[in-house]
């Protein structure tokens, strides 16, 4: 009986309040973290395409939206809602956090071809929706932290010039290489367009031979670049937006570390058959030697003329040994020599041999003389004998010549050269006086600092004081007494802003904030210039110039048909830029020689 009656209790629901949602279309927005239609912050997005790679539904296309620039491909994801499954892996993997999902979920249409749109570009009702799925916290689908590079402690390194960083072990390199998402944004930024994702992949696959071959396809200065490259690639790295950029430079170095040096030449392969054409190159820096390497591999006879005792240019004479051991530079240079390049040292153009002779004896001449003159601020007191510029000092240190090592010195400049000379001098001070007394003053504030953050950190560890946003006003000298004319210190003002609203250089000083940095010596490291006097008056007149530099076309050819110019002297200081330049010039010369050959036959 109970079983017959109890079902009738269902009638009590008649008196309950209805559960019906009155207006289901408007009453029920998606939950706060609901995964609805996509949104994309176009400003944040860099078009790395990682979302496309991870999408298992092939729902995402990268379509051009704006012009590419460094670190931004100009592509933006277009989402096909005929594919999407709202799994939000694209949101989770997004390198910048630009891609999110709104909590909007209603979209019906009779036309199946409309379910495709570029979030952020195409106007959609949910574009401004604030709720919805956003990645909670940091990226988790790939590590955001760079593998720490082992380095010697400040205490260990301050009294010597031995290399600081240890290089990655295989395990460390694997972990670091694993972080790369292979977007390839870095390739365009690298002046030499090195195949960065590919050689990182080679590390992941533990195929170091292939890695080395990839390196040498685009850069014969792999040992050098693996240590001191300006690594612009890392500023374009997609990983830097949410975490540390991939340590591309250290990984490059890791490849060169792992391949036995004896195998380099075998792996790179032999140059092509000799063509009988001759090319002379002035300056044995990265630009010159890269040109030489390329041309030699194409079978041309190349002679490189170097004014100094040893080849290498700035990497040898500008970069201290603790950053780039000379052995490593020699390894790179020996590989280049092995390709048949002849390097003649201690030969200064204009003195030992003239440009005219080179022109007469060769099919082409390349000028890659770098920037070996230091710039002075020319503030009052700059003419004191205790004031020197950084570049000649670094050269002297390399060549083992005597340099003055006072107990207290000030460096003017905030670039890497300033750090190099400061740290080199600090080492010499440590050896001579047992303590470090170096102050660096830079015009730029730490927000816009020129030197690498690592350099700044390591300098501080080594006891170097760095003052940012200080505009040098005067090098204070003794006005009388025994030390008349000798340096007493540097007077600076605070530079409270350096750029105006439009980003134009427009410094503003706060005169009330004045400091005098006591010093026995002031080193100016504000900039460098090329020593173009070696060209001679006639050639200087004959050449076309542009803004103080030799005018070259895109291939590095000057206005003279026989003369090319490459490297810092035309492009400003940057080692990998110089390498890229070398490639370009070599290509251009080779094309010219080939045309000549064709005309002859």
């Amino acid at each position: 009986m109970r079983d017959v009656l109890s079902p009738f209790t269902a009638w009590k629901h008649l008196f309950r309040e209805p559960v019906t949602v009155l207006d289901p279309l408007n009453d029920r927005p998606g939950a706060d973290r609901y995964r609805g239609f996509h949104q994309n912050d176009l400003e944040k997005c860099i078009g790395c395409g990682t979302c496309e790679v991870i999408c298992q539904n092939a729902a995402i296309d990268m379509v051009p939206v704006s012009d590419p620039e460094d670190g931004d491909s100009g592509l933006r994801p277009m989402i096909d809602y005929g594919r999407c499954c709202w799994c939000a892996l694209c949101v989770d993997v997004c390198m910048t956090g630009s891609l999110t999902m709104s909590n909007d979920y209603v979209w019906a249409d009779a036309n199946p071809d409309v379910f495709r749109f570029t979030p952020g570009v195409d106007p959609k009702p949910w574009n401004e929706e604030e709720k919805g799925y956003q990645r909670p916290g940091a990226r988790v689908l790939a590590s955001t932290e760079r593998v720490h590079m082992g380095e010697r402690t400040a205490k260990d390194r301050i009294d010597n010039f031995e290399e600081i960083v240890a290089g990655y072990t295989r395990e460390e390199a694997m972990i670091e290489a694993d972080r790369c998402v292979e977007c390839g944004l870095c390739v365009a930024t690298c002046p030499a367009h090195m195949d960065i994702p590919d050689y990182i992949k080679a590390i992941r696959e533990q195929d170091y031979d292939k890695g080395l071959q990839l390196l040498y396809q685009t850069n014969p200065f792999s040992e050098v670049c693996g240590r001191v490259c300006t690594h612009n690639c890392e500023t374009a790295c997609a990983a830097r937006h949410d975490g540390d950029p991939i340590a591309i430079r250290w990984l490059k170095r890791h490849i060169t570390d792992e391949v036995p040096y004896e195998r380099y030449v075998d792996l790179i392969g032999k140059p092509e058959a000799a063509t009988g054409r001759k090319v002379a190159i002035v300056g044995s820096g990265p630009a010159g030697l890269t040109t030489a390497y390329d041309l030699a591999r194409m079978g041309h006879k190349v002679v490189v003329y170097e004014a100094r005792k040893s080849p290498g240019g700035m990497p040898r004479y500008g970069i201290p040994e603790y950053r780039l051991p000379y052995d490593m530079l020699d390894r790179d240079i020996d590989v280049i020599r092995a390709m048949g390049v002849e390097i003649v040292c201690n030969t200064r153009i204009g003195e030992d041999i003239t440009m005219e002779t080179l022109r007469a004896d060769n099919d082409a001449v390349v000028l890659s003389i770098g920037l070996h003159l230091g710039r002075s601020t020319r503030i009052p007191g700059a003419e004191s004998p205790d004031v020197d510029t950084a570049v000649p000092l670094l050269r002297k240190i390399t060549d083992g010549e005597e340099v003055p090592v006072p107990e207290k010195l000030v460096v003017i400049g905030g670039g890497n050269v300033a750090m190099d000379i400061a740290r080199s001098m600090a080492r010499l001070q440590q050896v001579k006086h047992g303590k470090v007394g170096v102050t660096v003053t830079a015009l730029e504030s730490f927000d816009h600092f020129l030197a690498d953050a690592d350099e700044v950190r390591e300098s501080r560890e080594e006891g170097i004081e760095i003052f940012d946003a200080r505009g040098p006003q005067e090098i204070v000298t003794f006005k009388s007494g025994k030390r008349k004319g000798r340096v007493k210190g540097l007077r600076t003002w605070l530079c409270d802003s350096i750029f105006d609203d439009q980003g134009r250089f427009n410094p503003h000083y706060d005169e009330s904030d004045e400091l005098v940095h006591p010093a026995d010596m002031v080193i100016e490291a504000i900039g460098q210039a090329a020593d173009v006097s070696i060209l001679g008056k006639d050639l200087t007149e004959a050449l076309e110039w542009t803004r103080g530099r030799i005018r070259v076309d895109v291939d590095g050819q000057t206005s003279e048909p026989w003369l090319w110019s490459a490297g810092d002297c035309v492009n400003g200081p940057d080692v990998v830029h110089a390498v890229a330049d070398g490639h370009r010039v070599a290509q251009s010369i080779n094309a010219m020689l080939a045309a000549k050959e064709e005309a002859a036959t």
């Binding site: 079983d3 209790t9 995964r35 799994c87 590590s143």
Partner: protein, 392 residues
Amino acid sequence: MFKIEPDRSQYPAHNPDGSCDIDLSSGKYVKIWHGPNHPGITGNMSLELTICGDEVVEGRTRVGYLHRGFEKLMERRTFIQVFPIVCRVCVPEPDLNEYCYAAAIEELAGIEVPDYANWMRTLILEMGRFNSYMMYLGGQSGSLGMGVIGQWTTYVRDLMLDRFEELTGARVYHMFILPGGVRDVLPDGFAARMEETLKTAERYLDDVDKVMFQNAVFNKRTRGVGYIDPALFDSYGVTGPTARAGGATTDVRRDAPYLKYDELDFEPVTGTDSDIWARADVRRRDTRLSIDLIRQILVKMQKPGEYFAKIPNVLHWKIPYGETYIRGESSRGEYGYYLVTDGTGYPRRINVRGPSYTHAMALLERLIVNTNISDVGALMVSLHTYPPEIER
């Protein structure tokens, strides 16, 4: 209780080997298709029935209408890319797929999942189980013509879907359990809202007890119908509530505790009669157990902590050779993933072991013989089968 069934064992006449001769052209037998487009079928599957009068003399389960080739698709997706599609293997209770897959990957890749993530997973699995049972209760009563219960349970399930939505960001396919952990922590005030939902659920379950289990119609039509001999359990791979209704104590949550089940206080629900009623009853009580477990979990869960382990970059995640099997207790029975990896970035093979695979095929084909055609629906639903996990 009384049994009103006539003895159907000799109709039609069986040959000594157990087979029977069915001659369609004799006009005595009719072949009808129960599904796939039929109101009395669960999901998109079909039964090919040969009937004599209203007696079923032979039944064949026909599946494949939902076949998407998951196991093939998984082989050409990277380990992370498999994650969104595993949940699609089972629509009403997708979370167990996510868990099994994630756990298999984590085991082979040697990843330790944070404690908090494990609690979250346990919570989600129980919520999913609750939802699945709600579907079942509606389906079971609906198969016997009691439409109103389906209205209630679907409503309660929808309330739980609201909880799912605020927790995971999706209603049906939650895609919340990633290999390595879970996506997020509990939202603020979740426990209170969950408690409210559970209270509502209990109120409705009380009504279901009265209207369904204390219903003479339901009792008469289910008692003694669809009896599964416990001796057949192993031969036919019967697991889960279906087996527990026959006195077996098999429950993966107790036998081989995974996640946090060993820290929860519960006993597997069992029955004795092994008929449709017993199976419905076990599931009804298991629903209440789920409610209890959800409460326990929310109490025992610590404060939000780490919810995601460190995993390699998923874009080139390779897992060395290995094979493993991860099982979990679904609302239908033992659910498992067999995963083989071969050192590449793609799984070599993933095989999904769904309980419906054994229940709806060989077992159902055996049980269906000699039942009344009007019981077929109830019988099929009582095995709680979801076709997508048969054909994947």
